[in-house]
């Protein structure tokens, strides 16, 4: 995920006492990622979802959750084995042979609970920052770091 193309659309909503975050990584499923998946490499999209509040010097992280989506393609059976985990706990796993399903599986997330709304201040201004990066990375030699995609959305919590 390099270049100016990839972007993350973040949509926070508060429902049933939970702050739920939906996000979608657009243009992140690049040819390089597809090649990596098709080569049979276990490919992971990792998202760090953080609820943050602005401050004078350093913004404060109110809550965070790490969501990962992993897919591995079996070239013999031509099937994708997908899984999702939240903070390291595997929550879902399923096979598929549909490439579009894989793309959606890896890049589209709906209503991820991040924090209880009781922790939020009424009329307080917050923002949700989502930082995504892939593994394996196909970065250039000598400076393999970086390449993360960032997206964020501000909101005012109104009860």
């Amino acid at each position: 995920m390099r270049g100016a193309g990839p972007d993350i659309t973040v949509t926070p909503i508060a429902r049933d006492g939970q702050l739920l975050v939906s996000f979608d990584l657009s243009d992140g499923f690049t040819d390089e990622v597809r090649d990596a998946i098709q080569s049979g490499l276990s490919t992971t999209f990792s998202y760090d979802v953080e609820l943050r509040r602005s401050a004078t010097l350093f913004d404060r992280t109110m809550a965070s959750v790490t969501v990962t989506a992993t897919v591995r393609f079996d070239n013999l059976t031509r099937r994708y084995q997908m899984s999702r985990s939240f903070d390291g706990r595997v929550e879902d796993a399923r096979p598929t042979d549909d490439r579009n399903a894989v793309k959606a599986w890896m890049t589209h997330f709906e209503r991820i609970p991040v924090s209880a709304t009781s922790a939020l201040e009424v009329n307080g201004e917050y923002y949700v920052r989502v930082r995504a990066h892939t593994q394996p990375r196909t970065a250039l030699f000598f400076w393999p770091w970086g390449g993360a995609v960032l997206g964020h959305a501000k909101f005012t919590f109104i009860q």
Binding site: G40, L41, N75, L76, T77, F141, F142
Partner: protein, 769 residues
């Protein structure tokens, strides 16, 4: 290895109450242990890199790209930062040292630059060539034939699996359709088994499992319950088979078939490892009303060898593709290895180069700094040797030299102090002698072996009327003057004489007066007897000679007075007796006798007066001095002449501030009268006389001057003026000025005669005050 010399320090002398400073610790970076540890770490890292590089073939590509590449990149960046730091630090240091013009800064900079160039050039060249080789090698991994072979092999295996999967799915669907009319809820499974048996017997499938949907209402959101009804398995199935995969697949098929009626079939592959693979396919059994009544799972079995080979082909293809996908990071891994080793060599070489340059120039810098300190006079500076090699020996030699210098300097200082003391002593003596020579009335003239006058004191200068500028001139030229030629002869004779010649009296004319000098010329000889010159000693014996003459004349006068005075009275009495006895003689005879006796008596009276003066000269009493006002004395004395000489004017000038002078007023009045009388006589009772006093405070003298404007006295006669019985007058005894000189001499003074300006004679009396 060059010496380790780390510091210079002044060597302090220990004393009571003065704590010794702690010994300087060797800098941490110069610790051999640290150096060895650093080298060991570098070697260890190098070995680790080599081991990792050798093991890359065993690592998975993603491990290499995710872990090894990061670690290597971090290590490379760290070493690069260290290299840049070492280089920047030393470059800045060298620049600063050169700007400060520190010694050996230029040499050190050149040495470091040379070592760096010697290291950098080959290292960078090897890095460039090696990197290109790595890139080329990696590119060769992915050649077209290999890709085609692996892709084809994978396609064959995959297609085979896919076809077998499709067959099993078809069989499952067919069986599901055939079971649609069968009641699965019954307990009699025989009809079902009979229906399934041909598929298994004919090896269309290896296993058929039938599930029925239970009547229990499913909970919201959960899958419907399935219950195994019957299964028919071929005997060729491997013993590790279990129902779990078929159960999950059945549930999954029922779930997807319930929600999506079109998607009522699904499949899966269960790997049994080396025993082979099981290809499962599930199909939903639907009743006449289309509702799901059960699920059939058909399973085909791929033998172990076939499955393993297919899997191997697929894995080879995947590995190839993974390498291709991870080509850049993998290339980066190998380049990082290479770069790491190169950087390690560069860091080590740079550090070693800088270290070596420092170790080489350090001791020399220390010695140079210490030499400058010693040159500046701080001889207690020492360099601390910390090795026993050639540099250590050099440092020891330098310290020994410094110690010798310090010792010599102390000796020189002691000698200098002693010399200064002696010089002061000699200078004191010289000033003492010089003062004496300047103050004494004896004249001293020094002449060196070359005949050059080296010294003349004030007395000699005054006696010989020579100024100090004759110093440095040849003696024969100076004494070539007519009146000084006798001295020249004495000097010449002193140089030739073996014994010390006695003093000789010579007379020289000075200011028209004869000056009698007793001159002794003494030859100087050195320790070796070599002549070193002549010393002339001159004494003014003129007063002595005058005194001797006066004394002689006084003796003559005393005897003359005694011898003459005795017969005068009888002569006078006899003459008066004759005149008395012949008072009755004839007038002619009586007149003759009267005339003769009168003449005899008159001359006798005159002789008596002369004898009295002689007696007075011979028996002049000692002056009875009292503090007297000289001006008043002169005024009172001059007052005696008021109205006596109408054509003579006597002017008096008295200097202010003249103190009282101890003198005998009567004798001093006689002196003034004598001088004024002489002046009046010399002017033939017409002219101007000036009597004045002068104060010479510097010499504690009072001068009385009697000057006239008469005809003056020729210089040749001036010295004789003060001798007894010398007179320029037709009448007179010639004792006046002799008495005057004697009176003045007995008052401790002196009298001198000279020319008056513009004419006349000027007598000057000097009296101590």
């Amino acid at each position: 290895m060059p010496a380790t010399v780390t510091s210079i320090s002044p060597r302090r002398t220990s004393g009571p109450g003065r704590p010794q400073p702690p010994p300087r610790r060797r800098p941490f970076r110069d610790s051999p242990k640290l150096i060895l540890a650093g080298i060991a770490v570098l070697v260890g890292v190098l070995i680790a890199l080599l081991a990792i590089a050798n093991g890359t073939s065993r690592f998975s590509p993603d491990f290499l790209s995710e872990f090894v590449l990061y670690a290597l990149s971090a290590a490379d960046l760290t070493m690069l930062a260290a290299l840049l730091f070492v280089l920047a630090r030393n470059i800045i240091k060298l620049v600063v040292e050169r700007r400060k013009a520190l010694p050996f800064a230029r040499f050190r900079a050149k040495l470091v630059a040379l070592l760096l160039v010697m290291t950098f050039v080959p290292s960078v060249l090897v890095l460039i060539v090696g990197s290109e080789l790595i890139r080329t090698s990696v590119d060769r991994w992915f050649n077209a034939p290999m890709e085609e072979i692996l892709t084809s092999a994978n396609k064959i295996a995959s297609d085979y699996y896919h076809e077998r999967q499709m067959l099993v799915s078809d069989h499952a669907a067919r069986i599901a359709r055939s079971l649609g009319a069968v009641d699965l809820s019954g307990t009699n499974v025989r009809p079902i088994r009979d229906l399934l048996a041909p598929d298994v017997t004919l090896q269309r499938v290896q296993l058929v499992e039938v599930y029925r949907v239970t009547l229990q209402a499913p909970a919201f959101g959960s899958l419907p319950n399935l219950e195994p009804v019957v299964d028919v398995a071929a005997p060729a199935l491997p013993p590790g088979y279990s129902r779990a995969a078929a159960d999950r697949l059945a549930a999954q098929a029922l779930s997807s078939g319930s929600t999506t009626p079109g998607a009522s079939e699904t499949s899966s592959i269960e790997s049994l490892g080396a025993s082979g693979d099981l290809l499962h396919a599930a199909a939903v059994i639907r009743g006449k009303d289309g509702r799901p009544t059960g699920v059939v799972v058909a399973t085909d079995y791929l033998t172990g060898e076939l499955a393993v080979r297919s899997r191997s082909m697929s894995q080879a293809f995947e590995k190839y593709n993974q390498l291709r996908v991870l080509k850049r990071p993998l290339t980066g891994v190998y380049l990082s290895f290479f770069l790491g080793v190169t950087l390690m060599i560069l860091v080590g070489a740079t550090w070693m180069g800088v270290y070596m340059a420092k170790r080489i120039t350090g001791p020399v810098q220390m010695l140079a700094a210490a030499a400058r300190e010693i040159g500046a006079g701080r001889l207690d500076q020492r360099v601390e040797p910390q090795s026993h090699d050639e540099f250590g020996s050099l440092v020891e030699a330098f310290n020994s030299m410094a110690s010798e210098l310090a010792s010599s300097r102390r000796k020189v200082e002691r000698s200098t102090i002693e010399l200064e003391r002696k010089h002061l002593e000699v200078e004191g003596r010289r000033r003492y002698i010089e003062t004496i020579l300047e103050r004494i009335t004896t004249g001293v003239v020094s002449i060196d072996a070359a005949g050059t006058i080296t010294m003349i004191n004030s007395a000699a200068s005054r006696l010989l009327t020579l100024n100090r500028q004759i110093i440095g001139q040849p003696a024969f030229a100076v004494f070539d003057r007519i009146d000084l030629q006798p001295i020249a002869k004495l000097v010449a004779g002193a140089g030739r004489a073996k014994d010390e010649a006695p003093a000789q009296e010579i007379a020289i004319a000075r200011d028209g007066q004869e000056l009698h000098l007793a001159v002794a010329a003494t030859a100087l000889a050195g320790d070796s007897g070599a002549p070193e010159g002549v010393v002339l000693v001159l004494d003014d014996v003129t007063p002595l000679i005058r005194a001797q003459k006066v004394a002689a004349w006084r003796e003559v006068a005393r005897r003359l007075a005694h011898e003459i005075k005795n017969p005068l009275t009888p002569i006078q009495l006899s003459a008066e007796r004759l005149r008395k006895n012949f008072s009755g003689a004839p007038p002619h005879a009586r007149a003759l006798i009267e005339e003769c006796t009168t003449t005899i008596v008159g001359e006798v009276e005159s002789l008596k007066g002369l004898v009295d003066e002689f007696s007075q000269f011979a028996r002049m009493p000692s002056p009875r001095t009292v503090p007297s006002d000289l001006a008043q004395l002169i005024t009172d004395t001059i007052a005696l002449y008021n109205g006596l000489f109408t054509d003579v004017s006597i002017e008096q000038r008295f200097a202010p501030g003249v103190p009282l002078v101890r003198l005998d007023p009567e004798q001093m009045r006689r002196v003034i009268i004598n001088l004024v009388d002489n002046a009046i006589e010399a002017m033939e009772r017409r002219g101007r006389i000036v009597v004045e006093t002068q104060l010479d405070g510097a010499n504690s003298l009072v001068r009385v001057v009697v000057a006239d404007d008469g005809p003056g006295i020729p210089p040749a006669e001036r010295d004789k003026l003060f001798l007894p019985y010398y007179s320029t007058k037709r009448r007179g005894s010639g004792l006046g000025l002799a008495i005057v000189r004697r009176i003045i001499a007995e008052h401790g003074g002196s009298i001198d005669v000279g020319d008056n300006v513009p004419r006349g004679t000027r007598f000057t009396i000097e009296l101590p005050c």
